[in-house]
């Protein structure tokens, strides 16, 4: 009779187990794991899934699941089997992924992984062996330990007000929209076992059909951890545990799902595709046209958030890049940005740039009063300071610095939008430093401004800023 033969989904001899008894498991007499393993192995064989299966062993008594299953095997960190399983399935959607976990692994240290794999509707199967105790580590309280149950860490019995209540995972997970199938079964009497076998096979079939996340909780005995003989353990399971962990189907959408509805897409490395991506990443500014910088530009741009300070830096940087120069741009970042002020440092040099931070700029742009107050003193002697005189009332020390006061925001308004004040400033900067020709800047801007409808306005803004300085 077939039932007396070992499933072909098991290894014939458990070589990985080592030791003298290589045909027996490492589980204790009366333990449920052996039964559950057998039902999984037989289901895999019947569904012809074994060779493309990946069994993820947890931490706990079933840490050695890989001793037995003749398929691909992972051993995962405590509680992380659903995360490992998620990745395995996403990387090969045709693999059959089994996340096999005990109560501590699944419902304590791995609660987050359990819930989120379910919530993403990962097309994997989770088998949850609930025996209300930590077995491998020596009989400590599990998240599913019963009220009153004694364990190594609840020597007087579990109490609701100290330890909390046994947690019911099927009921919790069934509140999520994504899971396809959630059932709790038991290994108590033979009727239970028949139902358990059916549920395990159904869960695996759902996965094989690409119908989504399946979860089967198997209430199971641990005579050693419970300090009972196997018969007493079975009776306690049936009489006591099933009152707290009622059997049944908590969710079943399998008949309402199309095949492969939850199958994700994955493509192996394809050089041609990557090359297209890399090509797209290249700049649109056109070929390098080497220009000569009259000197290094070490710029600081500062103002309110929303004035386009960072974009001003980016525009100048890309003009510098097209001119074949070394360029760096560094923003003040983080919460200070959300507070309404913005500044960035930009360096252009014909040599390698050392520090990207500009503590002592030779060009300072200020588009608000606090920036003038804060940064003017840092500008090197003879440096240039460009002030948006529409916004900033104060003026800078014209004896020490080359001061350009330009009503950039007013000019921008005349051009059509206050948003191009930064480009008016850019025109003024290029004119004041003679770093580039205006034509070179304009053709670069044309290439990098994404909204083509805004190009004309930006061209006018740039030219107005440039002329303001040159014709002054």
């Amino acid at each position: 009779m077939k039932t007396f033969e070992k499933s072909n989904s098991f290894y014939k001899v458990f070589e990985r187990k080592g030791g003298p008894a290589k045909e027996a498991t490492h589980y204790c007499p009366g333990c449920g794991h052996g039964n559950v393993h057998k039902m999984i192995a037989e289901s895999l064989e019947e569904l012809d899934l074994t060779k493309r299966s990946v069994f993820v062993s947890p931490v706990g008594c079933s840490v050695f699941g890989y001793y037995y299953f003749d398929c691909g095997n992972f051993q995962a960190a405590h509680g992380r089997a659903p995360a490992v399983g998620t990745a395995v399935k996403r990387t090969n959607p045709d693999a059959i992924v089994i996340s096999y976990q005990g109560d501590g692994d699944l419902a304590a240290i791995g609660t987050a992984e359990t819930i989120h794999a379910a919530n993403r509707g990962e097309n994997i199967t989770v088998f949850f062996v609930n025996n209300a105790i930590y077995g491998m580590t020596g009989g400590q309280m599990a998240p599913t330990t019963m009220i009153g149950q004694r364990s190594a860490t609840t020597p007087l019995g579990r109490k609701e007000d100290i330890h909390g209540n046994p947690i019911r995972m099927c009921e919790m997970l069934a509140t999520l929209p994504a899971p396809t199938y959630i059932e709790r079964v038991a290994i108590g009497n033979s009727k239970h076992i028949m139902k358990a076998r059916k549920a395990i096979k159904k869960a695996l079939r759902i996965q094989a059909e690409g119908k989504g996340y399946s979860f089967v909780e198997i209430v199971s005995a641990c005579p050693t951890g419970w300090k009972m003989d196997p018969v007493a353990a079975r009776d306690w399971l049936i009489d006591d545990m099933l009152k707290v962990f009622p059997l049944g189907v908590f969710k079943d959408e399998s008949d309402n799902q199309d095949e492969d509805a939850w199958k994700r897409h994955f493509e192996a490395f394809d050089k041609a595709k990557v090359d297209v991506y890399l090509d797209r990443m290249k700049s649109a500014v056109g070929d390098i046209e080497p220009t000569v910088l009259p000197g290094d530009l070490n710029c600081k741009f500062a103002g309110f958030g929303g004035q386009g300070i960072l974009t001003l830096g980016l525009f100048l940087s890309q003009i510098g890049m097209r001119g074949g120069h070394h360029v760096s741009w560094f923003p003040a970042y983080g919460p200070e940005m959300r507070g309404g002020t913005a500044n960035c440092s930009v360096n252009l040099s014909s040599d390698r740039i050392g520090t990207p931070l500009v503590d002592h700029p030779n060009v300072l742009v200020v588009m608000n009063q606090p920036s003038l107050d804060m940064f003017e003193k840092d500008v090197v002697d003879g440096g240039t300071i460009i002030i948006d005189s529409t916004v900033v009332e104060g003026n800078a020390d014209a004896k020490r610095l080359n001061v350009v006061a330009i009503p950039a925001s007013d000019i921008a308004d005349e051009v059509g939008t206050p948003k191009v004040a930064n480009v008016v400033i850019l025109g003024a900067l290029v004119a004041a430093t003679d770093a580039f020709t205006p034509e070179f800047c304009e053709s670069t801007l044309r290439a990098i401004i994404k909204k083509k409808s805004l190009i004309d306005m930006n061209m006018e803004a740039f030219r107005r800023g440039y002329d303001f300085v040159k014709k002054a």
């Binding site: 990985r16 060779k51 493309r52 299966s53 990946v54 398929c71 691909g72 992972f74 051993q75 995962a76 960190a77 992380r80 995360a83 490992v84 399983g85 998620t86 990745a87 395995v88 996403r90 990387t91 090969n92 045709d94 693999a95 987050a112 992984e113 989120h116 993403r120 994700r264 994955f266 493509e267 192996a268 490395f269 394809d270 595709k273 990557v274 991506y277 890399l278 090509d279 990443m281 290249k282 700049s283 500014v285 056109g286 070929d287 390098i288 980016l314 097209r322 070394h326 360029v327 760096s328 741009w329 970042y333 983080g334 919460p335 390698r352 050392g354 520090t355 990207p356 931070l357 503590d359």
Partner: protein, 354 residues
């Protein structure tokens, strides 16, 4: 043109995809989030995987899963998040899984702040997780290297079947520079001899870090140790700048090395014989190169964005031959050139005690 002006964080994603990386698992955190943003955009578009995991812990364990399938995979975070990945990195090292983990280091300890620091040096180079293991650690100092060293990290990870790590600071992550867009890889290594792919031909393989018997686990550790010694002998990378005649050798990496380039030039203009040794691999550390310079230089100075971590490796390398000084700023304070020049002068005048 074959260049782009981009953030260091974005350049990491370009390097990763060019290296054939197919999956990214991460969790948002400043100042590393741009890496996740770019990955979310580009990985799925290229048929790969992007998952914003429920936690850093889940993310690194997803890395374990894809890596165990022999597929190139990465994660990225910043200091507090990187701390959470330590358990998973130890598992990856134990199971000999290649992967790339990026740490855009911010200020600590605890929640600290989001400003640049280098105070995760000990964690990354000495092993922040449990057990005898090492991370291959690369320290880029600009956007181009964020791209190129990410590619290199994938190669080293595969070559040695070990996690490789990019350690950068908040400035190097946030700064934009000109990047030469690289040529992508042509072929990827075949890992079907050990990977578990969910296909029949690899169904006999096992990904695991558990070795129950003491003698067996010792043998496993010795095997790993032999591999680490090979990496130390073969994979050290560093850059020297004006060290030939240097009396003072400054040792600095990451953004600090950028500041030191400029300061060395300032010092040379004053006639001070100062040079820079920049470790590019933090582990393996350029111990021999420093030991050799200790024969000619009269003083060393380690400059870090920490209260003194890498300086211990410099001291070990110099081995008492000449004084090793330390200058560090932390909490997000970055030293300026003039400040460092002052330190150089103090040492050269013999004012500072070693």
């Amino acid at each position: 043109m074959a260049k782009q002006f981009m953030k260091g964080n974005d350049a990491i994603v370009v390097g990763a995809l060019a290296a054939g990386c197919r999956a990214y698992y991460g969790y948002p955190i400043t100042p590393a989030s741009e890496i996740a943003h770019a990955a979310a955009l580009h990985f799925p578009a290229l048929g790969g995987v992007f998952i914003q995991a429920e936690s850093e812990v889940s993310a690194i364990n997803m890395v374990y899963g894809t890596s165990g399938m022999g597929v190139r995979v990465m994660t990225a975070s910043s200091s507090p998040g990187f701390s959470l990945k330590q358990e998973g990195l130890s598992y990856c090292a134990g199971a000999e899984l290649p992967c790339v983990a990026v740490n855009i280091v911010r200020g600590g300890p605890g929640l600290g702040n989001i400003a640049p620091e280098q105070a995760d040096y000990f964690q990354i180079t000495k092993g922040g997780g449990h057990g005898n293991y090492r991370l291959i650690a690369l320290a880029p100092n600009g956007a181009q290297e964020m791209c190129d060293l990410t590619m290199k990290a994938f190669d080293l990870a595969d070559k040695y079947r070990n996690p490789a790590c990019i350690m950068a600071d908040g400035i190097t992550g946030q700064m934009m520079e000109v990047v030469d867009i690289p040529e992508g890889v042509t072929d990827l290594p075949d890992h079907s001899d050990w990977a578990v792919t969910g296909k029949a031909q690899t169904s006999g393989n096992l990904i695991s870090s558990i070795v129950l018997e003491a003698e067996d686990l010792e043998a496993h550790n010795l095997k790993l140790d032999a591999k680490y010694k090979e990496i130390m002998a073969s994979e050290v990378m560093y850059e020297e700048y004006k060290t030939e005649d240097a009396e003072l050798v400054v040792v600095a990496y990451g953004v600090v090395s950028r500041i030191v380039y400029s300061t060395v030039d300032m010092a040379r203009k004053q006639g001070l014989k100062v040079g820079l040794l920049r470790p590019i691999t933090l582990w393996p550390f350029p111990t021999e190169a420093i030991a050799k310079l200790a024969d000619s230089a009269s003083n060393f100075l380690a400059v870090e964005l920490s209260t003194g971590q890498m300086v211990e490796d410099v001291q070990l390398a110099v081995n008492g031959k000449v004084p090793v000084h330390f200058y560090g700023r932390c909490g997000g304070v970055v030293p300026g050139g003039k400040e460092l020049l002052g330190e150089f002068n103090k040492i050269m005048e013999g004012v500072t005690q070693s």
